[in-house]
């Protein structure tokens, strides 16, 4: 435990000014080679680094839902440039985002599931696949679906694809702590093998996040 606190303290010393200036330099070089894709990837990457750093420095483990969706979208944008036709994605409409600005969500809560969908669902499938994220307003909650048509959690496990279990476990622990002090609870569910081929092979995963509109994150 003590070790991890020390590491956190060291990470916080990493100077974002240095990172952003270095990435700016890199973008100038990429522009000289007319590498628009490269510039885009560096831009999105830097946004995500800044978001995580800023929250980490402020010791804030939650942020506004549109910011979290932006993290996930940037992640998918970068992966799309890397994997091309093997990956498609859909994010909620811009119009919805505005209405979500007052709703908070634990940092990385959507991003981690999106990453799982890509790394374990889709990249374990020869033909690739797609990820869809959507948000619905349901009374006291925002319900978020993260859906992929990858191999599914069981099949991924058999292949030996484990990945970010640390991430999801960490989120679950955080959720328990937060929920104790709130009337409306954060919840996440999995729906496995949501699709079936004509040959009877089941595949795909849907993660459902239930995020209360009113929620106290201060411990």
């Amino acid at each position: 435990m003590g070790g991890s606190i020390q590491v956190q303290a060291i990470v916080n010393q990493l100077n974002p000014h240095f990172i952003n200036n270095a990435l700016q330099w890199l973008q100038v070089r990429l522009d000289r080679n007319n590498d628009k894709e490269g510039i885009g990837v560096v831009g999105k990457l830097s946004e995500n680094i800044s978001t995580v750093f800023r929250n980490s420095r402020n010791q804030k483990a939650y942020h506004a839902l549109p910011n979290e969706l932006k993290l996930a979208e940037n992640y998918l944008f970068i992966q799309k440039q890397r994997f091309k036709d093997m990956l498609d994605y859909e994010m909620p409409d811009e119009d919805i985002l505005q209405s979500l600005e007052d709703v908070n969500i634990p940092l990385l809560m959507i991003q981690i599931h999106v990453e799982n969908a890509v790394e374990h669902g889709i990249r374990n499938q020869a033909k690739g696949g797609s990820v869809k994220v959507n948000c619905n307003d349901e009374k006291d909650y925002i319900i978020i679906h993260i859906e992929d048509d990858g191999v599914g959690r069981e099949a991924a496990k058999k292949i030996g694809s484990k990945g970010t279990q640390n991430g999801t476990k960490m989120l679950q622990e955080l959720e328990i702590i937060y929920n104790k002090q709130n009337n409306f609870e954060i919840k996440q569910f999995y729906e496995d093998e949501i699709f079936e081929t004509t040959g009877g092979v089941k595949y795909g995963t849907r993660v459902i996040l239930q995020i209360p509109k009113q929620y106290n994150y201060e411990i």
């Binding site: 974002p16 000014h17 240095f18 990172i19 952003n20 200036n21 990435l23 700016q24 330099w25 890199l26 973008q27 100038v28 070089r29 990429l30 522009d31 000289r32 510039i39 885009g40 560096v42 831009g43 999105k44 830097s46 800044s50 800023r54």
Partner: protein, 271 residues
Amino acid sequence: MNSFKPLRCVILEDEDDIRKWIVEKLENYPELEIVGEAANIDDAYRLIATTNPEAAFMDVQLIGGDAFTLLNRLEKNNLPIPYIVLATGYPEYVMTALNDYRSYVVQYLVKPFIDNWEFKFRRGIDALVGANMNKISNESAPLLIPQPTIKKETVDFTFLQNKGSLLRLDFAKVAYLEAAGGGESIVVTDDGNHQIDLTLNKFIQILPAHFFRISKSNIINTTRVITINRGERTVEINCIPKNKSLGISDTYYVYFLGKLPLAKDQLDKKN
């Protein structure tokens, strides 16, 4: 745009590769004339002192001191400070700039900003042009009676020469003005329209600060604004007998929004 002189602009940035890149890009904009560049704070100070630029693209970090130290030094020595597009890799600096230097800094660029730079530079240059236009209209001596305090909000009317007689113009009754060609403008008021032998450029020097230029063709009374359609870049003006919708041109758009009492953070986020 053609009727304006380009703004004399300096580029202050400590990294050679990035500074050269910015200079190369900005040289393509007719709105700007690059009069010099500098990497360190002393050169930057001398450059501004000798060239007296109207605009600057400036990084917070300079060799030998930061942009805020430079601005302090200029201020202390009573040297005019240009309007600034400020670049920084450290978003916290934006807060400092917002608090202490908001009258100079017209736009921020958060590094790395090369992603979609055309859009960001466009916004920055529009803001520089807008700020300078407004400065000119504030500083110029008023052309017509009554003098001297035409700009003050307390004076709510003026007299205009109108075909040999003097027409009293109550500012509160003016909805908007439209260029009529031949050096004349149409003033649209609640009492009817008047064709006056003055260009919009002259008018903006006479009218109070809440009148604002939104395009080559129009000046509006901002207290008459009902809605702004940001998609189409039009503004709806309360007008008798019927409300009027007018286009806002790119050059004036950003600065126009900056003039209105609205939540700027929200706008930035949206963009």
